[in-house]
């Protein structure tokens, strides 16, 4: 016989059915029956109460991106729900599987401007893969199963469930449900074998093939398939910001990062290659620079699971629509071994230029204030290049991503598409909870740290061992850099009057160090890495430093500036 339970309890059962082990949440009026049900499930779920619902959404993202599992948040209606919108938007742009469950007013008063009523489905439709209102307890099992299936399959993304209060309290004869097929949804398009043959022929004829690797490889867990592909025909590869840990930094065919603050060799050679093989990347404007001068000489092969990415920004000569984990081996099989030595060597010329003009100064400054680059590299090395790098947004993001080194998959969590300041701290909490066996280092600026600084409370309560590195330049540095370069040094609203961050950390019982002199850095890093729990390393860095090299806005990617 089927058990008769409430809609709220049915939600608990359905989440357990999906293998959920952690809930990031914040209670409130119209979700109270669900939080009441959670009281009986404290052993089934780790229940993480955040300090602001934006933190819950980003924590769920950090959980999802570090583990590959779906992140879950539960919040109340109205303001609780709207506070998650930034995280949901971030998740749609960066293809992160999260399910946000929000309370909603009782169905009898929907549409009456009831207390804390907003049209959440209407508001979230453009920023979700699917957004649905549950108005009957009978629909809970189906809606949750469908939500998880949609969030995690194909190109992943956020799903919102808007759960009316009466549906939470009314009774249902519960039966677990599985959704693994929706007739209007094709998450894994079938690879086109003819197109794969054509692509292989094109690559076999290529003299200067170049692979551009994106987050799709991480999401599709196609790391081994990618390496086999690259190695068979000796194809050099560059990575996007979100694809940085799709290949280890020191892997011989891994040439560097693409884009606005990427490596010179990778950007220049994008406009030199004869065949461009894009793998699970979306030609974002931060990667391409001016499209009118982007890779015009190259034939383009574009592998993506999402058909709508094909021809969106860059026209594909051969689109390969499907899962890269499935397509890459089919393609590899048809490749002929090749050498391409001269072509691969051509990267080093540009690397030498970048090293001399930028990297040497960022990593080994002899004097002056500490630089972001040296701090990032030292922390990477102190964690044997095995840590998960989480970043906030700004100069701290670009510098830590550039100078951190990656040896394992799923090691970079950064807000790429939305560029959300305030992402870092809560995302790091989510990651530290999802993958407790890995060290999680989050780099933040003095601006972004304060955008979700309240989550220090969550760290305190949950004892999450997050290593926080605050790169303090007393500026909204990234914006200041643009003001210096493109707005005539007019520093409008970018200097920051900062509080005593070490005192703030100690108010939360979090140990911290302030480092001003280069001589103190190593010892402070050691202390942070060896301390068992959370730690704040507050580094006073050079105030008016710039992230270089840089593709100026509107410029061609091969025209990078160095100062």
């Amino acid at each position: 016989m089927k058990e008769i339970i409430t809609g709220a309890e049915a939600l608990m059962r359905s989440l357990m059915n999906e293998g959920v082990d952690t809930i990031f949440g914040y209670p409130g009026g119209s979700i109270m029956p669900v939080f009441d049900a959670m009281y009986d499930h404290q052993n089934d779920f780790r229940q993480v109460v955040v300090r602001h619902e934006q933190g819950a959404a980003h924590a769920a993202q950090g959980y999802a991106r570090s583990s590959g599992k779906v992140g879950v948040c539960i919040v109340t209606s109205g303001p609780g729900a709207t506070n998650t919108l930034t995280g949901i938007s971030d998740a749609i742009l960066d293809s992160t599987p999260i399910v946000v469950i929000a309370g909603q007013v009782a169905s009898s008063v929907l549409g009456t401007d009831a207390f804390q009523e907003i049209d959440l489905v209407g508001v979230t439709q453009p920023i979700t893969k699917w957004s649905y209102q549950i108005r009957r307890a009978e629909d809970v099992a189906w809606a949750v199963a469908r939500a998880f299936y949609i969030a995690s399959s194909g190109r992943p993304g956020p799903v919102v469930l808007d759960f009316t209060k009466d549906a939470q309290t009314s009774k249902v004869a519960y039966e677990p449900q599985i959704v693994d097929n929706i007739r209007s949804y094709v998450p894994y398009p079938k690879p086109d074998e003819k197109a794969i043959r054509e692509a292989a022929e094109l690559i076999n004829r290529a003299r200067r093939p170049f692979a551009l690797v994106g987050q799709g490889v991480e999401l599709g867990r196609a790391h081994n398939e990618l390496r086999a592909f690259l190695e068979k025909a000796n194809i050099p590869a560059a990575r996007t910001l979100l694809g940085l840990s799709a290949l280890p930094t020191d892997y011989p065919l891994s040439m560097g990062m693409l884009g606005m603050h990427g490596n010179l060799s990778c950007n220049v050679n994008t406009n030199q290659c004869d065949v461009l093989i894009a793998i699970g990347m979306r030609f974002s404007d931060r990667v391409t620079g001016n499209l009118n001068t982007y890779a015009k000489q190259a034939k383009v092969i574009h592998i993506d699971i999402d058909k709508s990415e094909i021809d969106k920004n860059v026209k594909a000569d051969i689109p390969l629509i499907g899962d890269c984990k499935e397509i890459l081996p089919l393609l590899t099989e048809l490749l002929q071994p090749a050498d391409h030595k001269e072509w691969i060597d051509s990267f080093s010329e540009y690397d030498a230029v970048e090293y001399e003009k930028v990297i040497e100064k960022a990593l080994n400054p002899k004097e002056g204030h500490l630089k972001m680059g040296e701090v990032a590299r030292k922390i990477s090395e102190a964690t044997e290049n095995k840590a998960i790098l989480v970043t906030d947004v700004g100069q701290n993001q670009m510098m830590s991503c550039r100078y951190f080194k990656y040896s394992e998959p799923h090691s970079v969590l950064t807000s790429g598409g939305l560029g959300t300041m305030g992402y870092g701290l809560p995302a790091a909490i989510g990651a530290a909870i999802a993958v407790p066996h890995r060290t999680v280092c989050v780099f933040m600026g003095d601006g972004g740290f304060q955008m979700n600084i309240q989550e220090l409370g969550t760290i305190m309560e949950q004892k999450t061992p997050v290593k926080m590195i605050l790169l303090n330049n007393n500026y909204l540095g990234n914006v200041r850099q643009w003001q210096e370069l493109f707005f005539n040094h007019r520093y409008s609203c970018t200097p920051m009057l900062n509080p005593d961050y070490n005192m703030i950390a100690s108010a939360y019982g979090i140990p911290s160090r302030l480092v001003v002199d280069r001589a103190e850095l190593d010892a402070a890093i050691k202390e942070m890495v060896e301390s068992p729990g959370a730690f704040l390393l507050h580094v006073a860095v050079e105030e008016e430093d710039n992230v270089m090299p840089m593709v100026p806005p509107g410029a061609s990617i091969c025209d990078m500036i160095f100062e």
Binding site: D180, N181, R183, S184, P187
Partner: protein, 182 residues
């Protein structure tokens, strides 16, 4: 790129909120929808949208892919005017006193092969089916006689030149179904 009139035919599940999702793709690009018709299709539980709008092919292709990406959209395709049969229906409400005093009005109705579907002492309802030009021509002729009380046209409905409704193949393509669960 040259702008031209495109007709989009979209099939979706019959769920609340889908119209909103479809139109939002046009709003974000600031594309005006010229006509929009939503109704049930020949397949049970499946809705069919017919939209017409001015755009260029590159944009239309991108929008169609985005529409197909919506979870509950089954199929979206676009057509130029030569690839489909398009019709519109219009209703004209004409003042009966004007009709009685002006012989020209009934001549117009006869010459245009329009149909009178209702008549009483205050007004008459005339129906016309055809291309937009046919409908607008009749409207202008009535206007010249200053007899129009109300006028409405339906927006495009269209069928493609294919023999069967596109979607049926997809819905019963078991291979495609299997691909959805990997």
């Amino acid at each position: 790129m040259e702008k031209q009139l495109y007709t989009l035919i979209i099939y979706s599940e019959n769920l609340a909120g889908l119209l909103n999702q479809v139109t939002a793709e046009f709003t974000r690009r600031q594309i005006n929808i010229e006509t929009l018709n939503v109704s049930s299709s020949s397949i049970d539980g499946v809705h069919r949208y017919t939209m017409s709008l001015w755009s260029n092919e590159e944009t239309i292709k991108k929008v169609v892919k985005r529409l197909e990406k919506k979870i509950d959209v089954l199929r979206a395709s676009y057509y130029t005017e030569d690839e489909i049969f398009v019709q519109e229906v219009a209703l004209y409400k004409i003042s009966t006193p004007k009709l009685l005093e002006n012989k020209q009005i009934s001549k117009i109705i006869r010459h245009n092969n329009a149909r009178v579907i209702e008549i009483n002492s205050t007004y008459m309802v005339v129906e016309q089916t055809g291309k937009t030009e046919t409908i607008m021509k009749l409207y202008k002729e009535f206007l010249a006689e200053q007899c129009v009380l109300q006028f409405v046209k339906s927006g495009h409905i269209a069928v493609t030149r294919d023999v069967v409704e596109h979607l049926t193949e997809q819905l019963f393509d078991e291979d495609a179904m299997r691909r959805t669960s990997k």
